[in-house]
Symmetry: C2
Subunit: 143 residues, 2 copies
C-alpha cells in the first residue's frame, strides 16, 4: 500500500507519516523497487494507534512510550495507567489555566459597556501594574 492509501486508511496525513518515520516514532517503512514507501495493514494499525493517541492529546514522546507498552506482551497495565493518569493531570492543569483566563476575561467583559464610548475596564485591567495576575478577585479599583 502506498503512503497515500495508508494515510487515508489511518487518518494520519502522508506528511506526518514521513515525519513520524524521520523522528523515529515508527521504523522506516519498506520500500518498493522504485523507492516508494510500502505499508501493510499492520503498519496502518500502528498509525491508527498513533492518531488515536494524538487525538487524546498525547505528545509524540508519550506515544513512543505507549507504543512500547502496547507492543510489550509482558507489560503491566499499571504502567499504562500511570502514563494515562500523568497525562490526565497535565490536561487538567492546562484546562485550569485556560479556565482562569476565560473567567478573568469574562468578568472584565461583563463590566465593559461595549458601546461607542472609549472607557473600557478590559483595557484598564490590562494596563494595571498589578502582578497578581489571572486572579478573578476584586482588585483595587480595577474591576
Amino acid at each position: 500500500m502506498n503512503i497515500g492509501d495508508a494515510a487515508k486508511a489511518s487518518g494520519v496525513s502522508a506528511k506526518m507519516i514521513r515525519y513520524y518515520e524521520q523522528t523515529g516514532l515508527i521504523p522506516p517503512a519498506d520500500r518498493t523497487a522504485s523507492g516508494y514507501r510500502d505499508y501493510s495493514d499492520k503498519d496502518v494499525h500502528v498509525l491508527r494507534f498513533i492518531r488515536r493517541s494524538r487525538d487524546l492529546g498525547f505528545s509524540v514522546a508519550e506515544i513512543t512510550e505507549l507504543l512500547a507498552l502496547w507492543q510489550d506482551r509482558s507489560r503491566q497495565s499499571a504502567d499504562v495507567k500511570a502514563l494515562a493518569r500523568s497525562h490526565i493531570t497535565a490536561l487538567r492543569q492546562k484546562i485550569e489555566n485556560l479556565q482562569q483566563m476565560a473567567d478573568t476575561l469574562q468578568t472584565l467583559a461583563d463590566c465593559c459597556a461595549g458601546d461607542h464610548r472609549p472607557d473600557c475596564p478590559i483595557l484598564t485591567d490590562l494596563e494595571t501594574d498589578d502582578d497578581d495576575l489571572l486572579v478573578v478577585k476584586p482588585r483595587t479599583g480595577a474591576i
Copy 2:
C-alpha cells in the same frame, strides 16, 4: 533604562522584548550612543500591557489590535469587548477539547486494573479502529 532593567520591571524577558521589536509589535527602542536599547517608564508600561495580555492568552496578533485600541483615544469599548469575547470563545473551545480528552482518558483509566497484568482497556481503546473519536460513550466492546 537598559533592556535588562526593562525586562525586570515589566516581566517580559529581554529576549522577548527584542523579539517584539523585531516583529513590529513595539516600535524600535531608542538607542544610547553605544547602541544599547534605552527604555522609558512609558515603554515599560506598554511591555506590562503586553505581558498581561499574554497572560490572558491573547496571541501577539491580537495584542497588536489591543495595543492599537488602547492607544486610540477615540476607540469604542464595543470593539475591545468584541475582541475579548472572540478570545473567550476560542478559550472555551480549547477547554472543551481538552475536557473531552481528559474525560475519555479518565473513563479508560477507571476501567484499567493498573496491576501487574498486561490487559489494559486504555491500550485496547487506542488500537480500536473506531473513527468516532473522543466520545465518552459506550463503544462496542472497547469500554
